[in-house]
């Protein structure tokens, strides 16, 4: 029982730690182990993928890599960067993400602001009108029929229009708007400001933290959107990164990889398929890894719907 004393801790926590009684010491150690394990479990797969993608091809084929790269070889990366399909799909994804996020946020504001105004005479009815779609939907097939019936099959708009508004996110934004002191609106109203001005000058600036999180949610959802693309985009030159990744990652036969790369077939055969797959994962994950840490301080606001207020 007295074994756990031999831990590595920093000066201050160490002193604190020594002063604690045995029960608390064991408790502390268990906590650190759990947190450490949780972090390892989350980080290790990505580190491993990164290591494989920049390691020496031969070492990868021997299965020598456990954590850190063995050797250093960027040829897999170079080869993947040479795929035209990768670039087409990457550019498509950027288009869909930017276009989609802008429209998503804009329409969410247009929906949330009126619903947050207490005196709005249709408030309750429209609230129900939106919220109902969170609990019941026409389902896949009728939605598919409507979208294709509108002529959106193989159209870039199919990546934006069917997923324009998320009722859940509108509710989050609505709560944020509702939290703004009513006097601000009253005063502006007395000054003669109409609702458009109040929305743009008061509501939106004061809900910036929530809007930041919503933008992140929407941007990530658009960046990761696989389902809409699977349903509505048949043409390769319109397909986003997710469909390209599916081809590369989930069809284990290298032929598909080669056909994706076109003339690079001979090179692809020589290169480890595994490594090419991992390079693609790294390329797909990097943008997400770059964005997410920056919104951490806002994240709590965006995850709390009315739920936690109560």
């Amino acid at each position: 029982m007295s074994k756990p004393v031999a831990t590595t801790a920093h000066k201050n926590p160490m002193r604190e730690f020594i002063q604690e009684d045995l029960g608390d010491k064991i408790f502390d150690i268990i906590i650190w182990i759990i947190v450490f394990l949780a972090i390892v479990v989350c980080v290790y797969p990505f580190l491993y993928v990164l290591s494989v993608s920049i390691s020496d091809g031969a070492a990868v084929n021997r299965g020598d890599i456990w954590l850190l790269p063995v050797g250093f070889d960027l040829s897999a990366l170079k080869m993947v960067l040479g795929y035209d399909d990768l670039w087409t799909s990457y550019i498509n994804t950027v288009i869909y993400t930017v276009m989609g996020t802008v429209c998503n946020v804009l329409f969410s504001i247009l929906a949330a602001y009126p619903l947050s105004r207490r005196q709005f005479f249709l408030r309750k009815k429209l609230n129900f009108f939106l919220a109902f779609t969170m609990y019941f939907s026409g389902g896949l097939i009728p939605t598919y029929m409507v979208v294709t019936g509108l002529g959106l099959y193989n159209s870039r708009l199919a990546m934006v229009l069917p997923v324009l508004i998320s009722a859940y996110n509108v509710m989050i934004l609505r709560s944020a708007f509702e939290a703004i002191p009513e006097e601000l609106f009253e005063n502006a109203n007395l000054e003669g400001a109409n609702d458009f001005i109040m929305m743009a000058r008061i509501a939106v600036p004061l809900a910036k933290p929530t809007l930041a999180v919503l933008s992140l949610y929407y941007a990530v959802a658009r960046y990761n959107d696989f389902f809409s693309a699977l349903l509505y985009l048949g043409k390769t030159n319109l397909q986003p990164l997710t469909l390209f990744l599916r081809k590369v990652l989930l069809s284990s036969s290298p032929e598909i990889l080669q056909s994706a790369g076109g003339m690079l077939a001979a090179d692809a055969a020589a290169q480890s398929t595994l490594q090419i797959q991992y390079v693609c994962i790294v390329l797909a994950v990097i943008p997400i890894m770059c964005v997410c840490p920056f919104v951490q301080k806002y994240l709590v606001k965006g995850t709390m719907l009315g739920a936690v207020k109560g």
Binding site: P13, D21, G23, D24, F27, D28, I34, V35, A38, I39, V41, C42, V49, W66, A111, Y113, P114, L115, Q119, F120, L126, A131, T133, Y135, S137, G138, G139, L140, I141, P142, T143, Y144, M145, G149, P162, L164, I165, L184, N187, A188, L190, G192, N194, D195, V220, N224, F226, L245, R246, L249, S252, Y278, V285, Q296, V300, T303, G306, A307, V308, G310
Partner: protein, 325 residues
């Protein structure tokens, strides 16, 4: 700066007189016309992309013929409950409902406690940068695309080159073809799902724990309470309302299993345990063009989900006085 002219607009007698003559509706229109204008595009969108498909569910009671545009949804020959009957008489109905429910249920009982335990642990760490780093690193997987996660699962579990099987071999075991064996599919689904979401789901609990006033901790510590006692008698009771509410809300998802992960990981060999309603609807509808039949199966799923969410919400309102509606 708004207050300075507060008097000016009060003194507009013409306005107040005309307001008296107006009907309530006219008054509302005058006051809210800009709000209506704002929400109009939203309402139109909802009508087209949410409510029109709901009306289109009519197709599950007809012999739908594709290729007639939007109105085709309402033009098929009425066949009553034919498609529902076909579904419930097929051997798939039971299998699909069982798989969907079990995957959602295991995800709930396995996936729900982990974020709470993690939140309890990470809030015990006193260094703020360390705590935040821990949070960022654990919620990152939540934002990774399902395709990438499935690609990693597929690679890691590969019998020949996968790192999991390499580890098994390293310790002297024999490699297992995880994704090819029906008995492993649910485990893979549930474990990978928990892995992806526990960090993100813990954010809300961490926030609830951090909201506990610091002097309550101090008071207990002065009284000589151990850390376990503090957790048991202060932290857990304080976050209980949040836990109960989220648990009830999570119960609403008991009949909805995400399409993407199952679709990307399963293969005909493991349909027995892996096939869920959403993937079946996709195969029947989009791949085999049995539109009416697939729509009927989808409607059945929507109705069951709706009933569960409704019940969960009512329970929540009774128990915690909070509801989503």
């Amino acid at each position: 700066m708004f207050k300075s002219t507060a008097l000016a607009r009060d003194a507009s007698p013409a306005g107040s007189i005309s307001q008296k003559r107006m009907s309530p509706l006219q008054k509302a229109w005058n006051r809210d016309k800009y709000l209506l204008l704002m929400i109009l595009p939203v309402v139109i969108w909802y009508l087209i992309f949410c409510y029109l498909p709901m009306a289109g569910l009519y197709m599950s009671f007809t012999d739908f013929v594709p290729g007639k545009g939007l109105m085709g949804l309402f033009q098929g020959k009425f066949v009553g409950l034919k498609w529902f009957q076909k579904f419930f008489e097929s051997p798939y109905a039971f299998r699909l409902v069982r798989n969907t429910f079990l995957m959602a249920f295991y995800s709930l009982i396995f996936g729900f406690p982990i974020p709470i335990i993690f939140a309890l642990c990470i809030t015990q760490i006193r260094s703020k940068p360390l705590r935040q780093a821990g949070q960022v690193l654990t919620y990152l997987p939540y934002f990774i695309s399902t395709v990438v996660v499935c690609g990693m699962i597929n690679n890691f579990l590969s019998p020949s080159t996968g790192i999991i099987n390499q580890m098994i071999e390293f310790f002297g075991g024999t490699p297992i073809n995880f994704l090819g064996l029906p008995e492993w599919f649910r485990t893979i689904y549930v474990v990978s799902g928990s892995w992806q979401t526990f960090g993100f789901n813990s954010i809300i609990f961490v926030a609830a724990i951090m909201a506990i006033p610091q002097d309550l901790y101090e008071a207990m510590r002065v009284d000589g309470a151990s850390k376990r006692t503090i957790i048991w008698h202060l932290v857990l009771p304080s976050i209980k309302p949040t836990v109960v509410l989220l648990l009830i809300m999570a119960c609403g998802n008991l009949m909805s299993v995400g399409f993407e992960k199952v679709f990307l990981l399963y293969s005909p060999g493991v349909y027995e345990t892996a096939d869920v309603i959403s993937t079946y609807v996709y195969r029947q509808g989009i791949e085999s063009s049995n539109y009416s039949y697939a729509a009927a199966v989808g409607l059945f799923n929507s109705l069951v989900t709706f009933a569960i969410v409704f019940l969960a919400n009512r329970t929540s309102r009774k128990l915690t006085d909070t509801s989503v509606w």
